[in-house]
Amino acid sequence: MTSYDIVIVGGGPAGLAAAISARKAGVEKILILERDRELGGILNQCIHNGFGLHTFKEELTGPEYAQRFIDQVLDEKIEYKLHTMVMDISADRVVTAMSREDGMYQIQAGAVILAMGCRERPRGALNIPGYRPAGIFSAGTAQRLVNMEGYMPGREVVILGSGDIGLIMARRMTLEGAKVKVVAELMPYSGGLKRNIVQCLDDFGIPLKLSHTVVDIEGKEHLTAVTIAEVDKNMKPIPGTEERYTCDTLLLSCGLIPENELSRNAGVEMNPVTSGPVVNESLETNIPGVFACGNVLHVHDLVDYVSEEATRAGANAAKFVKNGKTESGKVVELTATDGARYTVPSTINIDRMDDLLTVRFRVGAVYKDSYVSVYFDDERVMHNKKRIMAPGEMEQVILQKTKLQEAAPSKITIKIEPEE
């Protein structure tokens, strides 16, 4: 069996940044395994701009953003394999992979970085009634068809769900000459970034109907129409509010699910809220030497944060390869309550943490003029006012090692609190 210091599963933005960071920390034998025909992951189909504002202080397209990292991987001569599917990861870090060229083979990894990304929630999981004709796509599948294969699914479009990919595709389909008739969103708020609502819907006069869902799909062979209706507080359609739209394409942008089949099979503990692994301050899972970053860990809004997180995962994996497992140190649990839905990480080992640690989380509803509060046990140590918080935008707080060492709390709680 061949062996590598670090095997990275996935060559998208997370995997690339993790690899570069691990190399910069001095790790020699690194291997990236990528199932697609090129590095860069989903960025390759994101041909719109707006990437990299945080990382590079300029606006790049998805492929341009990816290329900056791919160039570094090439400069650093980091090994990678394309068209390669990882079939299994064992708890003792044996990675089984497969490709046309190399067949099926196993690699012993010193550390594994999970960077598989996420996938879209399909129609079936949404229980939308009606027929099951051609013409229904998840927004990302349509994005691939349009941007990478060069084919248009149709000319008259309805979009269900206001996730970012759906919003971006509303604009993209419009620019390609299609008529996007409406975007329906089940929740009373959008799941996407505010800037995407402005730039992709408002600027093109595409209506966004909040608290609406699809209640019927017509067309036995190909889609001919969908009916949307308003929903009540319990998300149940309100009779009499139905509106029928003739269309040949229905795009679904109803949420992303981290792709953790491999993680689960390996025995990685999952967080039911994020559908991603439970990780500590080092982004390490319950399996020593198995790290996670990017959308496989929790779904991000901005690739810049994916790169930043993956850089940390790469550095921590490098530490693990050099020092092995470190047992010492006080472990503090992080809890999200009162409107905060989860935190990444879930635990912090104060001795092992960096001087500053970014804790990311999402809120469960729209909050206006509210506070993000951090408690060390019962003592409130942070109280930051936010004009607006929404489930579609990830939030963060930064914890200082010195303060944690000083207070030595037994638990840390993040809450959303109203103005007092």
Binding site: R35, P129, T141, Y151
Partner: protein, 486 residues
């Protein structure tokens, strides 16, 4: 070409009959209005093999159910398709309904069902811990089983085709007349077909076909009885290990909860009589009804794990009995009509019965060489690492995973396309290989499968369909691509 037998419909009944007839020296052709086999009732049902205690004692339905069930082991071995006798349980949740279990048991005995047992509440819960807390008792039938309906239908059709039966797809029967030459002339959208004998295995359309040739006092009406289903993720496929039925009512066997032979969990069907013979749309009421009913008998059903919902139509006729035999006044025209549940289970026996009937009527002689077996598309997951490596060395396409949810490689998809009666659409590939049937429901693999269909069949992207007809996936090139081509 003059055919000896034309079978109308390439569902599980038509395919079973085609396979049986392929044993004999006869020119046989199957006409199918869709682009593939297994497109109607055969593709959307509970995917189970009934033990046979439901049908009325002495009925043809009972006889063919029990016979079909008995034939299934050998048939599935010959056709190399998965079949598992997981056993079924009819669960009673009301004390006063307990005698109903005994009635079913008695009927099962009359029908020839083997190995049944009435279980106490405790015995039932021990075998199936996720049964409702209200369980009072259950009828256990060890011969109940689970099967892949696509594979059964496709395998029988493929095997028939390998043994010389023609299949004509996208061919819809519009009219049937017996001419003075004594032959059946079948008008279709693809020209006229002429045959000595006709078998009507047209599923929900079998009434329409029957009525084309029957006398005025012998018209039948098939009522499409719609059933909504939910299919759940493999993660929860082990929620129950047996097929769990409620006690039957006059609308049928009720909402069952069962593992599938591929490891998912299936919940369904509802039973709603409709008019539209293509009305396979699910409804919110149907799905809600389904969930409520299933929860009566099985607790903690993880309905958040639904990966798809669908509806199928049963070919119901008022008498609730299979109609198999020569139509009065229409010599050499054989009905195989009103094949509702347990039609899938009965299909091998229906094939045998109709095959024997025609053999006698037509005095058919057996072929000197008939191939009873076929090999299914390989499942590389069954191979060891070394074996799989060897395979990929010889056929590198097996190293290229296309559907990551079900772990299906390009090798399996190529096999599905190039074997007899091969796949020509995304659904055709899906039903043969399971590519696209997993939890992402083809989000990832459909562009890749399209690329393979494009390359292997010489179809343009615009010509590729989900399942034939007008179900095209993409409409045209993007502006940029059009510009680039000029």
């Amino acid at each position: 070409m003059l055919y000896d037998v034309i079978i109308i419909g390439a569902g599980v009944s038509g395919s079973a009959i085609a396979r049986e007839l392929s044993r004999y020296e006869a020119n046989v052709c199957v006409l199918e209005k869709c682009e593939d086999v297994c497109e109607g009732t055969s593709k959307a049902n509970s995917a189970i093999v009934h033990a046979g205690f439901d049908a009325a004692a002495g009925s043809l339905m009972a006889k063919l159910n029990v016979r079909g069930n008995e034939m299934m082991d050998d048939l599935c071995r010959d056709l190399d398709i998965p079949f598992k006798r997981n056993g079924s349980m009819v669960v009673c949740i009301h004390k006063e309904a307990l005698p109903g279990l005994q009635d079913l048991y008695d009927r099962g005995i009359k029908n020839g069902v083997k190995g049944m047992k009435i279980l106490s509440r405790e015995e039932a819960l021990e075998m199936e811990p996720n049964l409702s807390d209200n369980v009072e008792g259950a009828l256990y039938a060890p011969t109940g089983g689970i099967i892949c309906p696509f594979k059964l239908c496709i395998a029988m059709a493929e095997n028939a085709n390998e043994n010389g039966v023609d299949f004509r797809f996208n061919t819809k029967v519009e009219d049937i007349k017996k001419h003075e030459d004594g032959l059946w002339h079948i008008r279709t959208n693809n020209g006229e077909y002429v045959s000595r004998y006709v078998v009507n295995a047209a599923g929900v359309h079998s009434g329409v076909i029957h009525n084309m040739v029957s006398q005025d006092d012998d018209k039948i009406e098939i009522i499409p009885r719609r059933g909504d289903y939910c299919l759940l993720d493999k993660e929860v496929g082990g929620h129950v290990s047996h097929t769990i039925f409620p006690q039957p009512t006059n609308l049928g066997k009720g909402v069952l909860v069962s593992p599938t032979v591929h490891g998912n969990l299936i919940v369904g069907p509802t039973a709603i009589d409709i008019e539209d013979k293509e009305g396979t749309n699910t409804t919110a009421e149907g799905i809600n009804d389904l969930i409520a009913k299933a929860n009566d008998h099985v607790k903690n059903l993880p309905m958040r794990k639904v990966i798809t919902s669908f509806a199928g139509l049963r070919a119901h006729e008022a008498r609730h009995e299979f109609i198999i035999g020569e139509v009065k006044g229409a010599e050499h025209f054989i009905d195989v009509a009103a094949i509702e549940s347990p039609g899938l289970t009965s299909s091998p026996a229906i094939g045998e019965m109709v095959g024997n009937m025609l053999k006698d009527m037509m005095k058919l002689t057996a072929k000197s060489e008939w191939k009873s077996t076929r090999k299914d598309i390989m499942n590389p997951a069954d191979l060891s690492l070394e074996e799989r490596n060897e395979l990929i060395k010889k056929q590198p396409a097996y190293g290229n995973i296309i559907c990551r949810c079900e772990s299906i490689s390009e090798g399996e998809i190529l096999d599905a396309i190039h074997r007899p009666l091969g796949a020509r659409s995304l659904d055709g590939v899906k039903r043969r290989t399971r590519a696209g049937m997993g939890r992402c429901q083809a989000g990832f693999c459909s562009p890749r499968t399209m690329e393979i269909l494009h390359r292997e069949l010489g179809l343009s992207y615009e010509e590729i369909t989900k399942s034939g007809g007008t179900s095209n996936i993409v409409m045209e090139r993007t502006k940029h691509q059009k510009g680039g081509e000029q």
